[in-house]
């Protein structure tokens, strides 16, 4: 039955469902339109299941390589990707159910089906038209895309995306991964741990190309040690797709190479979901790059009363960025004046091992902007806690403004980097300088001490190196 709501959110991913909950908290009657499972890509075929698989991969590596040294006799170790996969599915299901529970708890109506935007803050789902008194929020997200121009059209068997990789019953004997951003690097780690021969191909000059170059170097070193074939600055010139596998012709620095693999995993970018949902007809315009055009201060689209959040509203395409936009837009719709979102203070994390977590500017960006800065570094090899865990790869790097000591940017490579980065996120959000980071006493022994030491190092006062 068609109904009247205050706010209708198109899409139940981390941007959309969080927006709906915040709307409900603010006394608005909210609905979420979702054609698939609640939680979106993140919960079902993205962040959550990959982290479950990465956990399996990390344990597999520890058991295979370090157990004996840790005093654990394991006998023959056998690895089963299928079991790990089924566990990751359970985790996703739990999370999706959790979102369903949250919708009930906050009295958010979930409308099942594909929502089509209609002019005048209305949304058609099936044959029913629902009306929003205050606003419609577009949170339709994004999906994986292939590279049809070199013959790498996704076919679901030999040329796959993360959507299929997450459901494989067994790890392929060999896999070529095209794209070494977060997704590519994470799957390289997973399949390597489960015994696949992995070739990681990145067109840009280094893997994790958006991160500080030192992180790329450290990760490349770690991967090569684990026999992952890392080809950076390499482009796929031609692909021959056969039933049993794929042959890629790869050119790197003038040299040609042939890569044979049972499967190719496409991890080079995502396409936003803007088609066939009535955007154009309702007056919602897109940018040149295909994202929905929004007014930055309000995230309102070119159609009055229609807002847009998450991946489809523009980069960075990160769940936590979408969730924050969801909260922000809900508050705007409710007539509040939320503090603006600091888009330059959104942490970025790759959850492979060692993890890569960063905030703010890279050193390259500081150079481009001609900022005067000083770099502080501290390696985990000099950190007591990292040594106790036998996990000493990586470092903390903090870039401080030379004059005032503000934290221009920071990057952490190492186990648990994703967890300890937030000390620096909070610091930057509140405009603490490296001095305040050092002044806060850090517990010993912890990995976080490396952050305090890097802060000290940026002032030329490091203690433990």
């Amino acid at each position: 039955m068609a109904s009247q709501f205050d706010v209708i959110v198109l899409g139940g991913g981390p941007a959309g469902y969080v927006c709906a909950i915040r709307c409900a908290q603010l006394g608005l009657k909210a609905a979420v339109v979702e054609k698939d499972k609640l939680g979106g890509v993140c919960v079902n075929i993205g962040c959550i299941p990959t982290k479950a698989l990465l956990h399996s991969a990390l344990i597999a590596n520890i058991v295979t390589h370090d157990a004996k040294d840790l005093g654990i006799e394991t006998g023959t170790v056998s690895l089963d990707y299928g079991t790990a996969m089924r566990r990751s599915r359970k985790v996703s299901e739990q999370n999706s159910k959790g979102v369903e529970f949250l919708m009930k708890k906050h009295k958010v109506t979930v409308v099942r089906g594909t929502g089509v935007l209609q002019p005048g803050k209305r949304v058609k789902v099936g044959n029913e038209v629902h009306t929003a008194a205050k606003a419609v929020v577009i949170a339709t997200g994004s999906r994986v895309k292939g590279l049809p121009q070199v013959g790498l059209e996704l076919n679901g068997t030999t040329v796959i995306s993360s959507d299929e990789a997450l459901f494989l019953e067994k790890a392929p004997a060999s896999i070529a991964i095209v794209g070494a951003g977060a997704v590519g690097c994470e799957f390289a780690d997973i399949f390597n741990a489960f015994g696949s021969k992995v070739t990681l191909i990145e067109a840009l000059p280094r893997i994790v190309p958006l991160e500080d170059a030192e992180a790329s170097d450290a990760l490349t070193k770690s991967y090569r040690k684990r026999k992952i074939d890392v080809l950076a600055g390499a482009t796929v010139k031609k692909a021959t797709v056969k039933k049993s596998g794929v042959t890629l012709e790869v050119e790197s620095g003038g040299e040609k190479r042939t890569v044979e693999a049972e499967k190719v995993l496409m991890a080079a970018g995502r396409a936003v979901n803007t088609e066939e949902m009535g955007f154009k007809e309702a007056g919602v315009q897109l940018t040149d790059r295909g994202f929905v055009k929004v007014t930055p201060a309000t995230l309102e689209t070119t159609a009055p009363g229609v807002y847009c959040i998450g991946d489809v509203a523009g980069p960075p395409m990160l769940a936590h960025k979408g969730s924050r936009e969801g909260v922000y837009v809900a508050e705007i719709i409710a007539g509040h004046k939320p503090m603006p979102i600091k888009y330059d203070n959104i942490p970025s994390v790759t959850y492979c091992h060692p993890e890569v977590a960063s905030i703010g500017l890279t050193e390259e960006q500081c150079k481009e902007q001609k900022l005067e800065y000083q770099v502080g570094r501290f390696p985990f090899s000099a950190n007591g806690r990292a040594r106790t865990a036998g996990d000493t790869e990586g470092f903390v790097k903090i870039i401080r403004g030379k004059k005032y000591g503000e934290i221009l940017g920071a990057i952490i490579v190492g186990g648990h980097a994703s967890e300890i980065i937030h000390e620096l996120t909070v610091a930057r959000e509140n405009e603490y300088t490296v001095e305040e980071v050092d002044l806060a006493v850090h517990a010993h022994p912890t990995l976080s001490e490396a952050i305090a030491e890097a802060a000290l190092d940026s002032m030329g006062r490091v203690i433990h190196t």
């Binding site: 005032y404 000591g405 503000e406 509140n430 405009e431 603490y432 300088t433 305040e436």
Partner: protein, 413 residues
């Protein structure tokens, strides 16, 4: 046909309102848009206006009564019309009369004389070590480096915290690198004559030697202008209704721009003449008063001033102003017109050198072009710190202000 007057939701969060005072009496003719009563909402005292033409037939509730939104409070209709059916409908109303309905004026906890010195310690130089100004470590470092006074900077972070962009914005206006807007103020060391004047006057009358200048202003044209603005069709329902006080604030701000001599701080060894106008606005709150500041008031539109004045006054009453919001003013305005005060003197709010006391707008017989006419008149009294402002200086400021309010169109160009 009779029209109901109901308690309107005058603020988004208003659930009930106290009818402070009936502005139209039973039997008086009213036109659409006329102010018929003053209503105290959860945030401010606001005006209830007529939604129909006719005669105010009945006050259904007495002044001082608190009623929920949409409850009947009065009736407009034709003289002699039978409104008993309308009134019967309200018999089950939930009006809860507050014990003895207090007269409206008693609701003013701030007698004029107390527009005194409630916050000398809050003068915007409070950035002394250990001061309670909220600022980020980075903002503090930048301010220290550039010699900026954090107390004079308005914070835009959470809870008014001063953050990097606030000090960087301030840096542009700081006296040294005169930015596009020019320096925020000009410090002038005391000349010998000013030192002597200051010393002698302070001996004579007290630490702030004050004198007063009163001027009566013809408000006919401002009245018309405001009526036009309020009746404007394109005003969105969220927009505040422009009040006389908003127009007065705007006129004062513009006049001060022409008379920076009156827009100044006494700083003991020097006088700080401000190039920016930050208007302190006296707001009566429970057991006291506070002066939230409308920053850069001379550069704001009437609509912005109205919105900001409402917002600041509302939060002042809720005691939710941050220190940055009630410090740093360069001149004050205190208006007791709504309490039927014809004229009063206000006490200077140091280090500011002047405060304008605004009385009510009252029809009076005056001589216009040699004939007696009834005109709406308003008296304003400027209190001047004689160490900063001399009689002629203050008088010139008042003349400009009078000119603007008598010809509000002059504010436009």
């Amino acid at each position: 046909m009779a029209t109901k007057i109901v308690m309107e939701a005058l603020s988004p969060t208003m659930e009930e309102g106290r009818l402070v005072e009936w502005k139209k009496q039973e039997g008086e003719p009213v036109a659409t848009g006329d102010v018929i009563a003053e209503v105290e909402t959860d945030k401010a005292v606001m005006e209830l206006v007529a939604r129909a033409d006719g005669t105010l037939l009945k006050h259904v509730v007495a002044a001082g009564t608190t009623v929920p939104v949409s409850q009947l409070v009065g009736v407009i209709g034709e003289p002699g019309e039978d409104v008993s059916s309308l009134l019967a409908g309200s018999a089950n109303g939930k009006a809860k009369a507050e014990a003895p309905a207090p007269p409206a004026v008693a609701a003013a906890p701030a007698p004029a004389a107390s527009v005194a010195t409630p916050k000398p310690v809050l003068a915007p130089t409070a950035a002394a070590p250990g001061g309670r100004i909220k600022a980020s470590p980075l903002a503090r470092k930048i301010a220290r480096d550039r010699g900026l006074d954090l107390g004079a900077i308005r914070g835009s972070g959470p809870e008014g915290r001063i953050i990097q962009r606030d000090v960087e914005g301030a840096a542009v206006q700081s006296p040294e690198p005169a930015g596009p807007g020019g320096p925020a103020f000009r410090d002038v060391p005391l000349s010998q004559i000013r030192k002597t004047i200051a010393k002698r006057l302070a001996q004579s009358i007290g630490p702030i030697p004050t004198f007063y200048l009163t001027s009566e202003i013809d408000m006919e044209r401002t009245w018309d202008a405001r009526e036009t603005l309020v009746a404007g069709k394109d005003r969105s329902p969220d927009e505040p209704r422009i009040s006389y006080n908003d127009i007065i604030l705007k006129a004062v701000a513009l006049s001060l721009r022409q008379h920076p001599d009156c827009n100044a701080w006494w700083q003991d060894d020097r006088i700080r003449y401000w190039n920016e106008v930050h208007l302190s606005m006296a707001v009566a709150v429970e057991d006291g008063l506070i002066t939230p500041v409308i920053r850069l008031a001379d550069r704001k539109s009437l609509r912005e001033i109205a919105r900001e004045a409402r917002e600041l006054a509302g939060r002042a009453r809720e005691r939710r102003l941050t220190p940055a919001e009630y410090t740093g003013g360069t001149f004050s305005v205190s208006n007791l017109g709504m309490f039927d005060i014809d004229q009063f003197t206000a006490v200077i709010n140091p280090p500011e050198a002047g405060i304008l006391a605004v009385g009510g707008i009252t029809p009076k017989p005056v001589v216009v072009d040699g004939a007696t006419a009834i005109r709406r008149r308003m008296r304003v009294t400027l209190s001047c710190d004689h160490r900063v402002i001399d009689g002629a200086t203050g008088a010139q400021f008042l003349r400009t202000l009078k000119g603007m309010l008598e010809n509000p169109l002059t504010m436009v160009y």
